[in-house]
């Protein structure tokens, strides 16, 4: 477990040693602002909540998160440092989780830096801050889900651009799984149970309820299990593809 912390610190500081972390955070904040105020109609709604802010997060993450996840393992393999890392006395699980955690904390930092919008809404009205905190947590958990997919895709290839495209595609699938557009397109003879199960696998149904302030253990469990299973797949892929 000690090694997990060491790997985590190295990864996180390497994000900040390059412009990557700063660019990510700044772009994240700018796009968030555009989505919330322009497209989300933050002022027009006349309601003191952050629903327009959070409802765009899945679509924002769809492009932003794969961009940080794509290098996680692809670069290690491309530069050969994977050989260095995995011949040190560390467990593969420590490496996989340490790297994931560093990227996850980076998204967390970006998310925390959106606090001015929270101040704004408190200044303008009297929002339910409990709901807002729950929504932040849900958003961060969802970012973790995107990242875990990215970690696995990044482990599949040396090429980070391929990793990016694969991650975006798979994340897109999980985003639209719960959306009405897709669900309505199912033929009627498919039992409701299967459609429900299908939609329950997607991000949106879980994220929506959390972002409305409903902190259900099942939704949190969904994201944790989701992250764990994708990280496990990452470890398996790394183990299998070490040779090439």
């Amino acid at each position: 477990m000690k090694n997990l912390g060491i790997i985590f610190r190295r990864e996180l500081s390497s994000y900040f040693a390059t412009p990557l972390a700063y660019i990510f955070v700044v772009i994240f904040l700018i796009i968030n602002g555009i989505f919330t105020f322009d497209l989300g109609g933050f002022y027009l709604r006349g309601q003191a909540d952050l629903l327009p802010f959070f409802s765009f997060h899945p679509w924002l993450y769809l492009f932003m998160v794969p961009a940080i996840a794509m290098t996680l393992w692809a670069d290690e393999r491309k530069t050969g440092t994977i050989e260095l890392l995995l011949t040190l006395p560390v467990k593969l699980s420590e490496a996989v989780f340490g790297k994931f955690l560093a990227a996850w904390v980076l998204t967390g930092i970006a998310l925390i830096l959106t606090f001015p919008i929270w101040i704004t809404v408190n200044y303008l009205g009297d929002p339910d801050n409990g709901v807002i905190i729950a929504a932040y947590l849900g958003s961060w958990l969802m970012a973790g889900g995107f990242l875990a997919i990215g970690s696995c895709m990044s482990a599949c290839t040396k090429n980070s651009v391929i990793a990016f495209i694969l991650t975006v595609s798979i994340c897109f699938l999980f985003v639209i799984m719960g959306s009405p557009i897709l669900l309505n397109s199912f033929p009627e003879w498919i039992p409701q149970l299967i459609i429900d199960a299908f939609s329950a696998l997607g991000f949106l149904s879980h994220f929506d309820s959390i972002s409305k302030g409903v902190l259900d253990v099942r939704d949190i469990l969904y994201f944790i299990l989701f992250i764990m299973s994708w990280l496990l797949s990452s470890a398996i892929v790394i183990e299998m593809k070490k040779a090439n």
């Binding site: 060491i6 050969g80 440092t81 995995l86 011949t87 040190l88 006395p89 040779a243």
Partner: protein, 309 residues
Amino acid sequence: MVEIKNLTKKFDQFIAVNDLSFSVGEGEVLGFLGPNGAGKSTTMKVITGFLSPSSGSILIDGNDVSINPIDAKALIGYLPEGAPCYGDMTPLEFLKFIAEIRGFQGQECTDRVQHVIREVELQKVCMQPIETLSKGFKRRVGLAQAILHDPKVLILDEPTDGLDPNQKHHVRELIKSLAKDKIVIISTHILEEVSAVCSRAIIIDAGKIVADGTPEELESKSQYHNAVNVQLSAEYDLTKDLSALTNISLQNDSGNSFTIISKNGQSIFAEISEIAQQKKWPISELYVKKGQLEDVFRSVTQKIREGIE
């Protein structure tokens, strides 16, 4: 003690390492030779636990790399091929990271890092990002990383590849000074390196051992071992004078330069020089050739190639 028993590594249908067995004891510097694609790097990757063997086992001081990887890896210092490092870090940060992973803390961690920086002479560049360093410095960072925890087993994959002659010399001296109570395995295809630093050499080809011995033993297997080189200052027919000797063969290298090969590797210099004096050969140079590792390397690795084809 590093023991490799019946190690085989397959990639799909391709057999990279084929039933390899050898052991290396303390104080030995083993040169691991072979043509490109012979399985050198693969063997090293399996020994260090990066790749898992298809069959067979590797014991590092009694720890099986497959069963007990963390303990085995803790005993090994490894410089992978090309000396990969995290380019965005400075050597100081990078070595500190390695030291922490290797379990050093606080003052000891700082001391280790400082010590190894002095040892490989990185003082001048230890605050620059590694990606901005020259090849020689990068290689030294990789080497520093490998020797930082004073490992019992040091495995270096082409440690001097791409270095200039001064740097090569420096790295070889470093390896020699480290070797006393360690097990060192170096892969290389620079043969002079083997004579310079190794106490034992193994030549592998197509994943199998084709020669194993001290560099001197291997050299004596050369067809040129104990051959006598004759440089003449004028035209002279040597064949007539040498026809009495049955254990030699004469080879014209160029113009007036000849090599007299001893067929069974025995010393023939005394006989040749006696004949030369009797017959008054117009000699400008006469000396005994030592067997070249290169000849042995070529003859043993080509035999296998021909066998396959």
